[in-house]
């Protein structure tokens, strides 16, 4: 550095003397602060090296984070302290020049746009219209490949599930549920046979099968034959936002949605009695075949899950 002293022209300050308080460090005891900052940097360096070492030996995640975080933290604290206590303390002032230009400059700018543009376009109105029309039409036409290709149209997919007349109710492993399987107060999630491993089966067809009694059970008028041997089935999709209503309180005979705590009364057709869900869970009509297996009479007959515009 000694060459510098000779080659660089020493400088002075305009307006401020070199010993001006604005240029003094803010610290009352700069030597002490310098030592503290040096300690911060040293600790930071050690920790950063430690980070490298921890990474090298593949140490536990917390050691990696502790060394890296601690290292960066101490380096940062040192640097801030350097700036805050050892650099010129200020305060300094800067003029704020108005951003707005002079009246004539503004007028020239506006005139350039309005007059140049105006004369050109006014003279060739038809060309401007054609160009605008062309670009506009392209914009509209481009929406189709850009947006329409993203996915299929809903059509009627939201209105039915994979439950068919005679579908066996199977559990997640694909095992058919037999009428003797469940005790009163039991619940199992079932799917139409063949769909338990499909996305749609999981997301749309999922159904809770509850044994609510050991005799035929009627939840609502007109559903007399839907609950053979006390087995009743409801769509597992909450009518609020489609979360799985997998929470059954067997004494209260309530189905509760874990997401927003809508509660459905299992005994009277899953009519909601609390929470934000607006509609009952659709009930799946069941029957028990000659071999004793639980099967669906037909599909739900209404859309399952949350509400949407086309749903009546």
């Amino acid at each position: 550095m000694s060459e510098h002293d000779e080659s660089r022209t020493p400088v002075a300050l305009s307006g401020l003397a070199a010993n001006d308080p604005h240029l003094q460090p803010a610290a009352r005891n700069p030597q002490l602060v310098e030592r503290v900052i040096a300690m911060c940097f040293l600790v930071g360096i050690i920790l950063v090296i430690g980070f490298g070492a921890c990474y090298w030996v593949n140490a536990k995640p917390w050691t990696l984070g502790a060394t890296m975080g601690g290292g960066l933290f101490f380096l940062g604290v040192g640097l801030v302290a350097w700036g805050k206590y050892l650099m010129p303390r200020g305060p300094f002032v800067e003029e704020r020049h108005t951003l707005a230009n002079s009246e004539s400059d503004r007028n020239a700018f506006a005139a350039a746009i309005v007059e140049r543009g105006g004369t050109v376009i006014k003279r060739r109105k038809m060309l401007g219209g054609l160009l605008g029309g062309g670009l506009g039409i392209f914009g509209v036409v481009a929406i189709f490949p850009l947006i329409r290709s993203l996915g299929p149209l809903p059509k009627s997919t939201l209105f039915h599930t994979d439950w068919r007349p005679g579908s066996f109710a199977v559990d997640i492993t694909g095992r058919r549920v037999h009428k003797g399987d469940l005790a009163v107060g039991s619940i199992v999630t079932v799917y139409p046979e063949g769909f338990q491993d499909t996305d749609n089966g999981q997301a749309v067809d999922q159904t809770v099968l509850i044994r609510i009694s050991n005799q035929d059970f009627t939840t609502q008028k007109g559903r007399e034959s839907w609950g053979p041997a006390g087995y009743i089935a409801y769509s597992k999709l909450c009518t609020h936002l489609g979360c799985p209503v997998g929470l059954y309180e067997q004494q209260l005979q309530l189905l509760v949605c874990p997401c927003h705590q809508s509660m459905f009364n299992a005994t009277n057709g899953a009519v909601p009695n609390f929470g934000p869900a607006p509609r009952p869970l659709p009930q799946l009509p069941l029957y028990i075949d000659a071999d004793g297996y639980i099967r669906a009479q037909k599909d739900y007959g209404q859309p399952v899950g949350p509400g949407f515009w086309e749903r009546s």
Binding site: Y55, R96, G246, P258
Partner: protein, 512 residues
Amino acid sequence: MSSEVINTKRAKQAAAGPYGKVGHALNELDDRLGVAKGGRTFLDKIFPDHWSFMLGEIALYSFVVLLATGVFLTLYYIPSTALTTYHGSYLPLDGQRVTEAYASSVNLSFAVRAGLLMRQMHHWACDIFIGAIVVHMARVFFTGAFRKPRELNWTIGTTLMILAIVNGFLGYSLPDDLVSGTGIRIAYSIILSIPVVGSYLGFLVFGGNFPGTMVIPRFFILHVLIVPALILGLVGAHLFLLVRQKHTQFPGKGRTENNVVGTPMFPVFMAKTTGFLLIVAGVTALLGAFAQINPIWQFGPYEASRISYAVQPDWYMGFLDGALRIWPSWSFHSFGYTIPLEVTVPAVILPGILFNIAYVWPAFERKLTKDFAMHNLLDRPSNRPKRTAAGVAVLALLSMLFIASSTDVIANFFHLPLNQVLWGMRILVILSPFVAYPVTWKICQELRVVEGGGKRKTTNVVTRTAEGEYVATAAPVYVDDVHSELEASEVPTFIVDETDKETGPGTRTVDR
């Protein structure tokens, strides 16, 4: 060393000018780009450094951490819903059929060195990022920094907040674990609830009915490319406007509408702000080291028929979840069509209203106060009781909605019936803005009449007058509080002064 060598060296130095190699390089740069003058101005730029101006820096630097850790994560994450069998070091998942997205998220946590730390840092940085944005936005709002000429920057900032929340949700969804999958399911249902176009929109976004196979790859490209690019661009615009319009400042000694008082960009502000960047990264890494976040291995993979109780979204989505919980089950059916108001109102219309209030506020306030002047000096919040009260009312409403998102946790913790907690929250949410507004307004009024209130280190002395009235007056300024006593000075200019050449070795040149 021979004198010849020294001469050559001196000649070189002379050719390079008085500032050595750095000076030479700068000259070369200036020859081509003409940066010297503008660069000098930039280095002299004054930044007011009130502590509350650091809140925006927290947001900026946690975004830097997000970019750095996010790049690391993209190297290992596989955005695919194809099924695979997990065979890794976490035994409770061994042999389960999971999506590639989930398997790769678990693997990058356990099989990649420092992977878990990076994932946790990324998630913590996100929580801090959005938190800092909200706090920064509150600071800007309460001090009136959004007023003319800064309305455009307020608009950009509001957009940034929305984009940050959106990107947070997208990223939260990517691991495809049980909790995030439930979140995606709810998002799908919310899209479905939009009148007329909902089902079409849902099918287009998800590439078919939920869950489909497209949502993870699409969320991925949105999360790592499209939204971050927008955020980056808008952050650039945000900072450009900040530099162009110069920072606001609180009123105080020597501070006027026409100047900026503070520290120069180089070196003081540069040192402080770089140090602060390191501190933000450091704190994020420490959180990532010691506080576990989103343990997806414990949640297990998402399957549409699995569900866990007490599932909440990340905190910044909490107000939506709370609104969905407490809004009553009013669905609208007519002419064979349904408007699922129980979803549309709290999840679409409510955030729409809230964000739009933020957007139109500067124009609204201008219209209301008929104040069209330029403002570079900030307001003390207590001097603007109505604005402050309105802001606190909105914050109170949002906080109550956030608390409402954990009605079940509150009920469990305090052993209260769920139904009562829900009703309690409904009442509190509705009451909160109406209580917060007058209370804040009154506090502001009280603070305004306290002389010297809100100023630093001034103690109020309460004296009893002869009439028995109590009067608060500011105590004298502390004697050793020298810093605030200095008048601000111009940033000094260094000028070449030949007469000082004789000072010789030992003279300390001031490095600026």
